[in-house]
Amino acid sequence: MIGENTHERGLRQSVDWRLVITYLLLVLIGWVNIYASIHTSDTTTIFDWAERSGKQFIWILTAFGLAGLILFVIPPKLWEGASIPLYAVVCLLLIVVIFVSKDVKGSHSWFELGPVKFQPAEISKITTSLLLASYMSRQNYKMTQWKDFLVTALIIGVPMLIIVAESETGSALVYAGFIFVLYREGLSGWWLGLIGLVILLFITTLTLSPYTSILILIGVLTVGNAFYGNRKDFWRKIGIGGGFVLLMSFLPWLLEFLQGQVQAHLDWMANRFWVPKAGEKDTYIWSFLLKVKPLYILLGLSLASLPFLGIRSFRRRDNFLGMSIAAFISGVLLVFSTDFIFQNVLQDHQRSRIEVLLGMKEDLAGVGYNVNQSKIAIGSGGLLGKGFLNGTQTTFGFVPEQSTDFIFCTVGEEWGFVGCLVVILLYVFLIVRLILDAERCRESFTRIYGYCVAACIFMHLFINIGMTIGLMPVIGIPLPLLSYGGSSLWAFTVLLFIFIALYRQEKKYF
């Protein structure tokens, strides 16, 4: 032992205690709020074993045990070597659970062994991160090689697809976060931009209109072209593209005005007192204006200009312009197929959640109930909150799932904006520390794994809190470390502490 100490730095220096303390704070905040969320006027203590707060106490203690095990017992070297078998076993579990589990609200993702329940999807985040880190840290790995890229995509895609098959689309969405890891490791930033654009178009098409979406598409492509190409062309491109967008954004107003005039005339003819429809036979010569939609004009003009842009891109060898044309065409196709995807590809509950989120449908008694009650609970918190155990919305049971997926409501209601700020800042601090530590690592395995952990926590954080405040559709994933539930707490503890252990090992020897 004495000999070891000369090589190694002590526990105090080698472990990143800032991560550990942030972890402990979050777990503690979670435990207190779980107690508050199930608290009713009957006095129970936070240690009452029959209640969720008491059970969570046990989960926390066992999670500490796991953390100690990873930090002190399991040799950190093991993780990289075991990544392939672990990944395989967990994928197998993911498939098996589909067939042996009970139907819980349509999803098949829980193993039940007597009183213990656990979700393999929680662990698969860890094993996927491990394998991803192990594969991408190989010496001759290059993201631009299609074979490497394909394997990377498969490592992420396989568990993701199986989880979709379990009807746990929400958990699968978390895997989209790995794109940030790929970006850090060399994936072109245009991919991120492209994915962002697709999401933006999807949302604007559904909430605003296809017309606005296409205008946005043209605008984004214009700005992209302006930045990408020759600097001296910058203002000219912005001028032409921006001018077109600006002009076209007034078109609907103009058309609406004209159509209003026509309609007013028709109404005047038809809407006579006591006469429901007198204007049926009326053939007003400008009536055709009513049928013209701004979209037709916009599309006509855009398509007419495509050949010119195409020739220009060919002559000038401007590949970016060529790609933009392709992006425009596929973007328009996306906009028009959005409705189809929305109506036919998505499942009913997913569609209605998105509809409620985007405000397309107000369904306060059905799907919208959760979000509305959650927003009421958080919104009524004010600056400082109603105080510990004083929340009315959460304690009277208006918010559903309040100790698991909607735990943030309790924070918002009882601790107010200050409480929310503290919790979010703790998470941000955790993620920032993870990224900075990862950057400091010499082994790419540890770095990539660190980014994976950061990405997972970020996705959970953004989706879960986004859901409780109505920014995201209702996706049932827990808030890391805060939400009630053993399997989630354990999984995040293991995920995080593997990184702490790996990082410690780096600091220990270098």
Partner: protein
């Protein structure tokens, strides 16, 4: 660490995401207050109290539209245990299948309904409700709710009053924040035009509840409760008896009668036939399709919407314009040889009467030729630079009587009719290719002139007032209800008031010269009332001529001015004149002595002459 490092960009992205979340939370918690109210609403429940709707009165305080009590049966499906469907169906006078169907529907929509109550049956009469109330204890979850519905004591003014019905989603959307599903609102007529006065304000009682929706006690001992405010009553200018009498006279005829009090512009009666019976209004849901599909279009309010050629009553206007322009003097004589001859063999025909004749006699005997001369003199007046200018000048003077434009009454959907200008004919014939003889039929109120019966009544009131009118209106100011000040303002025409007595003399003679003296409207004579009138017989391209008559009485200090228009009724004296005269008698004498005439008018059926739409 520069901006181009990927991990720096990712950190910036993380910061942006965190700021998005925090901004949203900030706006929810600090900026937006309504979530705090919603949190209170979660723990309280409001029971809505419906106000009673305002009553609509006639000018003499008779109720045209009142309220009576009916009962809705409402049910809270979550509180309903299994029950005896047949027993409930018997009590409520419906089939067991109806109740089973409803309960199945609630079961299907249970998520949407939640803990709320829904209305199962609407507007049950009191006796049915009383039967239900006796056995209500056997059917937990069901209860009755009082609801005021409309009641019509007199069959008068179905077309004017309009109906009340439950608002649909479209209506709620068009009046944001004012209505909720289940509310009632006036949809047409006075009910719609005065909805804001009539509806009153809803009240509410607040109760505390827990998250299981069990109501516990009044919130703050009812301190925050709001009582319903009843709607304002509306007093109309309508004389219910006169209106009802007019409707009886017009039954089985197509047309309209409009009666106005000249001194105020108040509409005493506004009859459109065929019209809508008040019992149809009371149950509009059942009768709506029937009304809409009726080929005679009972919803179409002919009194303010039908554009008719005015016929000879328009001679009054041309005469007055001629007097004002100085091209006509009362003593001028013109010949009439069964009409007015012009051009090569053209003639505008006339009936047999004395010739030549002066202006008074021309009105009394309704001579066509006389007004051809008058119009020709107006249009060929040397003072104006050609016929375009004189035509437009004529148009402006005619328009000052209210013709060719909306009068601006408070009655919805009034139409404007039309009066031609030089442009009308320039478009039709080409500039310079028409002259005063081309448009000569304007002299006798035919051709391009169209007016509503209300325009004609207004003309009559203008003459009765010797040169001014008040905009006809149907709502009187009363406590809490104001009307537009324009209804108190005199509207003058462009004809000097000194000219009016000259035509009134002619109108008096048309009625009071006695049979056989050539007066066209002797049938309108009433002993002791100096009725002044003018007949009209307007050509109708769709069949027999329309019968037209305007009159006012008494000659001095007139109390009523009236216009009657009967489609396909023949001569003005055949139907319109007797009817208008009977209305005058009814209004001024309170009873009708000429029972034979009254019977003949009521029983006449002209429907077979009328072409359906």
């Amino acid at each position: 660490m520069t901006l181009d490092d990927r991990h720096t960009r990712l950190l910036i992205g993380l910061g942006v995401a965190a700021v998005i979340l925090l901004v949203r939370i900030f706006s929810l918690q600090i900026l937006d207050d309504h979530y705090k109210e919603d949190a209170d609403n979660n723990t309280t429940v409001r029971e809505i109290i419906y106000p009673t709707r305002g009553v609509i009165y006639d000018r003499n305080g008779k109720i045209l539209v009142g309220n009576k009590v009916a009962y809705d049966i409402i049910v809270n499906p979550r509180e309903v245990p299994p029950f005896d469907t047949v027993a409930l169906a018997t009590v409520l006078d419906v089939t067991p299948e109806f109740i089973r169907g409803k309960m199945q529907e609630y079961e299907r929509n249970r998520r949407k309904i939640g803990f709320q109550s829904v209305t199962m049956l609407k507007q049950l009469p009191a006796e049915t409700y009383n039967k239900f109330a006796e056995v209500q204890y056997r059917f937990p979850g069901f209860k009755g709710q009082v609801r005021g519905i409309r009641e019509y004591p007199i069959n008068a003014g179905g077309n004017l009053l309009g109906y009340v019905s439950e608002v649909n989603q479209d209506y709620i959307n068009r009046h944001p924040g004012e209505y909720r599903s289940g509310d009632y609102a006036g949809m047409t007529g006075i009910e719609a035009a005065r909805e804001k006065d009539l509806r009153g304000e809803k009240g509410y009682h607040i109760f505390l509840r827990n998250s299981r929706n069990q109501i516990e006690q009044p919130y703050k001992d009812g301190e925050m409760d709001k009582e319903a405010v009843p709607g304002h009553d509306i007093v109309t200018t309508i004389d219910a008896d006169l209106q009802q009498y007019g409707q009886e006279l017009m039954q089985n005829k197509v047309g309209a009668i409009v009666a106005i009090e000249p001194a105020t512009g108040e509409i005493l009666a506004l009859v459109s036939s065929p019209g809508i019976n008040v019992d149809q209004l009371a149950d509009i849901g059942k009768h709506y399709d029937e009304i809409v599909s009726n080929p005679y279009r009972p919803m179409y309010n002919r009194a303010v919407q039908a554009s008719y050629p005015p016929g000879s009553v328009f001679k009054l206007v041309n005469g007055l314009v001629g007097l004002q322009e100085g091209v006509l003097r009362p003593e001028m004589m013109y010949p009439c040889s069964h009409g007015y001859h012009f051009g090569a063999g053209h003639k505008l025909g006339c009936h047999g009467h004395k010739s030549p004749l002066n202006m008074e006699e021309s009105i009394m005997m309704s001579c066509n030729a006389y007004y051809c001369y008058v119009l020709k003199n107006i249009l060929d007046n040397r003072r104006y630079d050609g016929i375009d200018e004189s035509m437009d000048h004529w148009h402006d003077m005619v328009e000052s009587f209210g013709f060719g434009r909306k009068l601006g009454s408070d009655f919805p959907a009034e139409l404007s009719g039309s009066i031609p200008t030089a442009k009308t004919y320039n478009r039709a014939y080409g500039k310079g290719r028409w002259n005063s003889t081309t448009v000569i039929s304007l002299s006798i109120g035919q051709g391009e002139i169209l007016a509503t019966p209300m325009h004609l009544a207004n003309l009559c009131a203008t003459v009765a007032n010797r040169g001014h009118y008040y905009i006809p209106h149907i709502i009187k100011a009363s406590e809490g209800v104001e009307i537009d000040p324009k209804y108190y303002q005199r509207q003058y025409t462009q004809v000097d008031t000194v000219h009016f007595p000259k035509v009134i003399k002619g109108m008096w003679r048309a009625v009071n010269s006695g049979a056989g003296m050539g007066g066209t409207a002797w049938i309108a004579h009433i002993d002791g009332l100096d009725v002044c009138g003018k007949t009209g017989t307007a050509q109708n391209p769709r069949g027999a001529d329309n019968s037209v008559f305007i009159c006012f009485a008494p000659m001095d200090n007139p109390k009523i001015a009236i216009a009657a228009y009967v489609e396909n009724g023949g001569f003005g004296a055949t139907y319109a004149a007797p009817m208008a005269s009977l209305m005058v008698e009814k209004y001024l004498k309170g009873e009708v002595r000429r029972e034979d005439l009254e019977k003949r008018m009521k029983e006449a059926n002209l429907m077979s002459r009328v072409k359906k739409d």
